[in-house]
């Protein structure tokens, strides 16, 4: 009941927006821009034929692969850069320079290196999510409070134990924040990545729907589905923040 009450304002605004959209399309008698009903009908048509699930599956596969590769690369590297001063001094300038380059700018290089198969979008997603995760993980190590390192040192534990039992768990909340940002960016980039001539994915669906007969109902349906899946993915990452071992950082 409480939840319902909290959701009520945003649901109301959403309903009003959809209503306004409908009214405007009806009033202007647009032949190209679809009404909400046409969008829903288009989406249902795609879902029934099974094409929609193929596109969603293809996009999720690319984002999943690119993101997991980025995690496997960025987390160990970030921990190392955070812990070893020389590694940070050497690599941080390079990452700071690569970070502001939009993943879109990598498209020509992706095509050159990986062609137009699945590898190109996976590479682009990797590029887009790896930098925020490296940065967050590194700062997670840098912001470990000294008192914890001192206490661990007091017990005379080895450097390996210190790293495993103090540095990694202490940085973990920041690592998870980085993963949340990384996955968000990865999903953001998937559409652009799939605009390179591929025959599947939600990004492809958008471009293809426009090119193949101005099916703007499907364009908007795909956009809404991308939004909903993005919300879902973020919700999944939020579940990680509820882990007992990281709760201390988010509580309060």
């Amino acid at each position: 009941m409480e939840r319902l009450k909290r959701l009520l304002p945003s649901v109301t605004v959403m309903a009003l927006l959809v209503g306004a959209w409908w009214l405007i399309v009806a009033a202007t008698r647009s032949v190209i821009f679809p009404t909400p009903w046409q969008v829903l009908a288009g989406a249902l048509e795609l879902a029934r034929s099974g094409v929609l699930w193929e596109h969603i599956g293809a996009s999720l596969f690319r984002v999943g692969s690119g993101f997991l590769l980025a995690v496997a690369f960025a987390v160990p590297l970030g921990l190392w850069m955070g812990w070893v001063r020389g590694a940070f001094a050497t690599l941080n300038p390079i990452f700071q320079m690569l970070r502001p380059i939009s993943p879109i700018a990598w498209i020509p290089i992706a095509i050159l290196w990986f062609g137009v198969g699945n590898a190109s979008p996976i590479f682009l997603i990797f590029i887009s999510s790896v930098f925020p995760m490296v940065v967050q993980t590194t700062s997670g190590v840098h912001t470990i409070e000294r008192r914890y390192l001192r206490a661990a040192g007091n017990f005379g534990v080895s450097r390996a134990t210190l790293f495993r039992k103090v540095v990694i768990p202490a940085a973990l909340p920041q690592v998870i924040v980085g993963m949340r940002i990384g996955l968000g960016v990865a999903w953001l980039v998937v559409v652009a990545a799939e605009m390179i001539a591929l025959r599947s994915g939600l990004g492809y669906l958008i471009i293809d729907s426009r090119n193949a007969g101005n099916r703007y109902d499907l364009v908007i349906a795909a956009m809404i589905i991308i939004g909903l899946i993005g919300l879902l993915l973020d919700g999944l990452m939020r579940l990680l923040e509820g882990l007992k071992a990281v709760e201390w950082r988010y509580a309060r």
């Binding site: 008192r147 040192g153 768990p169 007992k244 201390w248």
Partner: protein, 251 residues
């Protein structure tokens, strides 16, 4: 009996924009085995620095700190520091915290030891709790237990109970005395609370304001349990406060 800790003529200065800032100046004293020595002094006088130097976290610029005759050059589990802000690892449960320093032992043995000390400080039933689920007093108990479980010869306590409210502070002092009567430790206690020092210590060192020099030493001859309201205790308190530059009547 040979002294456990010997501090010989140590000097320590910190670098600052205006040149070196002397913090400790020609400090010398010793602490006997099993003795509880309290160090009191005005705030910012360098008490914590002194403790860090003795515990091996920092090196003196000149002079020597020896523990059992060996120079103290780095922190070790021989002496555990308990700081004001606490350092119980928030990502580990109480039991895991207590087992942290117990490496190189059989797993079952570590758990038994950890649970024994958790019970000793009154945390029985909270072994699986995370620190953020505990109250301030319970966190202090966990910190104390984590130090005790490695059976250190020395406890360095830096304002250990000052973040607690008055009632809890008093209760933790009594707990500490009970634990120390069960397990003999040498304790160096840094505090700004003169009453706490009298309550706990065998001997009280009074430091001057920065740079800290040894200004006075008081023996605390009262047997435990100590009655803090007794005239003799009050008299000692007034004498110590006078050394600290506080008029006894107003305290």
């Amino acid at each position: 009996m040979p002294a456990k800790i010997v501090v010989q003529d140590i000097n320590k200065a910190f670098a600052s924009d205006q040149g070196p800032l002397p913090v400790l100046e020609r400090l010398s004293f010793s602490v006997d085995d099993g003795e509880l020595v309290a160090v009191v002094g005005p705030s910012g006088c360098g008490k914590s620095t002194l403790l860090n130097v003795i515990a091996g976290f920092e090196r003196p610029d000149q002079g020597l700190v020896t523990i059992d005759g060996a120079e103290s050059v780095r922190p070790s589990a021989q002496g555990i520091l308990i700081s004001q802000h606490g350092s119980v690892f928030p990502w580990l449960t109480v039991q895991q915290n207590l087992m942290f320093g117990l490496n190189g032992r059989v797993y079952g043995e570590r758990e038994t030891l950890a649970d024994h000390y958790a019970a000793m400080v009154g945390l029985k039933g909270f072994e699986a709790s995370y620190p953020h689920e505990l109250s301030g007093g319970m966190l202090k108990r966990a910190e104390l237990a984590r130090a005790l479980v490695v059976k250190p010869e020395i406890l360095y306590m830096d304002e250990p109970f000052s973040a607690l409210d008055a009632l809890l502070n008093l209760r933790m002092r009594n707990e500490l005395l009970r634990i120390l009567s069960e397990e003999r430790h040498t304790v160096v206690l840094v505090t700004h609370d003169v009453e706490e020092a009298i309550h706990l210590a065998d001997r009280i060192l009074v430091l001057s304001s920065r740079p800290a020099t040894l200004q006075a030493v008081f023996d605390v001859p009262f047997p435990h349990p100590r009655k803090l309201s007794s005239p003799a205790v009050q008299e000692l308190k007034v004498a110590i406060l006078r050394e600290l530059g506080v008029d006894g009547d107003s305290a």
